[in-house]
């Protein structure tokens, strides 16, 4: 059993916070969330941390561990350098509530504003639809999202430029891609993507893809295909001419 030092961010909402140092014993197999719980039990009973499943599926325990957006429950202590203290701080893209807990409610409001799934009329005799599995496979990847919002946290458009009023962020481009590319969907979201949702703000740094705990290829499979659809509609004069001539 070895003792490890942690620097954990402590602050109330609206206050200027700072790191406080804690030490606790680490045993084999522990993850960062285990260590935080142990510190809560031993020396910081009032430390606020959001968590739920401890299995990397609820997306609650998102934080920045040694400067990297991670799920605390999926970050093994043995993977962190042993010769330095472990820093744990809240996500920077959202307002702080307390200590490691941020207010992510902005994300839920953004999701409400996205046009909903609008299927074409049923085409099977039993009043349902038939789809080819190969068509569904492409959007299946996007449904793995656990809404941990690590991609939103790492995106510099939200994190540094704070364009929350004009940009929906990688999580909701994944959500929009799942709807827009769905073989049954008939809704048109391209004008929203270009204007209100600001897909043009993404400059393809691929940070969102790197931090995704579900390994969704966010940039290549969701954001760039959406950008290309926006180009089709708004920035490709030849295609527009073809559309006018062909009436499609």
């Amino acid at each position: 059993m070895a003792s490890r030092t942690f620097h954990i961010w402590r602050a109330e909402a609206g206050e200027e916070g700072g790191f406080q140092e804690y030490s606790t014993d680490i045993t084999e197999g522990m993850v960062v969330l285990d260590a935080v719980h142990q510190i809560q039990a031993e020396s910081a009973g009032d430390l606020a941390v959001r968590w739920n499943c401890k299995a990397g599926k609820c997306g609650s325990c998102s934080a920045e561990v040694n400067g990297n957006p991670r799920l605390m429950c999926m970050t093994r202590m043995s993977d962190l350098p042993e010769d330095q203290p472990v820093t744990i701080e809240p996500m920077r893209a959202f307002p702080l509530l307390r200590d490691l807990v941020t207010d992510v409610s902005w994300n839920f409001e953004v999701k409400k504003a996205i046009r909903k799934f609008k299927p074409r009329p049923p085409d099977a005799e039993d009043g349902t639809w038939r789809m080819d599995q190969r068509d569904v496979d492409r959007v299946q990847e996007f449904r793995k999202c656990i809404e941990c919002f690590l991609c939103q946290d790492v995106c510099h458009v939200l994190r540094d430029s704070q364009k929350h009023d004009e940009f929906i962020g990688p999580r909701f481009f994944v959500h929009t891609a799942a709807l827009e590319m769905h073989p049954l969907d008939t809704e048109d979201r391209l004008a929203d993507l270009r204007k209100a949702q600001g897909v043009g703000y993404c400059n393809i740094t691929k940070c969102c893809t790197k931090v995704c705990p579900e390994h969704i290829t966010i940039t290549d499979n969701a954001i760039i295909p959406l950008k290309e659809r926006v180009v089709d509609r708004f920035y490709d004069p030849v295609r527009n001419l073809f559309r006018i001539i062909s009436g499609r």
Partner: protein
């Protein structure tokens, strides 16, 4: 769009991060790699000499639309070329492949990090307060990537023809063309393979061949094309770098052989 309820954390200063890895290594390597290529290709483009050797033609000069070379399509230097700009066949054509790489989705992400620190790396503070993304001029022109793709596909066909021609050597005694393979043939053929891997994995091409459709299961040809492009696209960054380095090396190989510094070894 909904606004954030609450106070967002203060913005990080330039370079501020709590990351402990060598986050600066990739942007620095990108900066050096792209700058090195830019310097070499600019120098090579202005030379207007030593870009061909018999059946070998440097990919940086192909196609030779105008010029004194026997590869020229339309004869010598055109009259419309401004007298104050030194003429070189490479200067006539290099805008197309340069535009393709400049507007490429992979390179955009890479050079925004390496050249303008926007951002330098993930979770590293930026030097800029304002941010316009790719919504305003000039970066809104990045949306023209597909037009450069069309040109790049044409160049790929021409370079494939060049690689084929690099397999036919003229016998100086008889003047007859005979099939052969030299090291230069392999260099120019590998160049086409790497450029093919890069161009055929383009995100815009992926969209155009099948990504634009919500349902491709009933279109076997488009589905096959989409799957092939997606396969190349998985390693787009690797293809991008390998092809970039090999284009420069191919030019260097032809140049040094033409100057007599290296001699081309005939394998067959």
């Amino acid at each position: 769009m909904p606004s954030v309820a609450g106070v967002l954390p203060e913005r990080q200063g330039f370079g501020a991060t709590r990351r402990r890895d060598r986050w600066w290594a990739v942007p620095v390597a990108t900066l050096l790699g792209l700058t090195g290529f830019l310097v070499y290709s600019t120098w090579a483009a202005f030379q207007n000499a030593h870009f061909e050797l018999g059946n070998y033609l440097s990919p940086m000069y192909s196609p030779v639309l105008w010029g004194d070379s026997h590869h020229a399509w339309f004869g010598p230097r055109p009259g419309f070329w401004p007298s104050f700009i030194p003429f070189s066949p490479a200067l006539v054509i290099l805008g197309a492949p340069a535009g393709f790489r400049l507007t490429c989705y992979y390179y955009r992400g890479a050079y925004y990090k390496a050249f303008v620190s926007n951002p330098a790396s993930c979770t590293v503070g930026k030097p800029w307060k304002g941010y316009g993304g790719e919504l305003r001029f000039p970066l809104i022109l990045q949306n023209l990537h597909r037009y450069f793709l069309y040109l790049a596909l044409g160049f790929l066909c021409i370079l494939t023809w060049d690689a084929w021609k690099a397999m036919w050597f003229v016998d100086p005694a008889t003047g007859q063309e005979t099939f052969g393979i030299g090291v230069g043939t392999l260099v120019l053929t590998l160049n086409v393979v790497l450029l093919g891997g890069y161009t055929l994995g383009c995100h815009s091409l992926r969209h155009l061949v099948g990504g634009v459709l919500d349902s491709i299961s009933g279109r076997p040809a488009r589905r096959c094309a989409y799957e092939c492009v997606s396969w190349f696209n998985l390693r787009h960054m690797n293809w991008a770098w390998c092809s970039l380095v090999w284009v420069a090396f191919s030019d260097l190989y032809v140049r040094l052989c033409s100057m007599g510094v290296w001699s081309d070894f005939r394998i067959l």
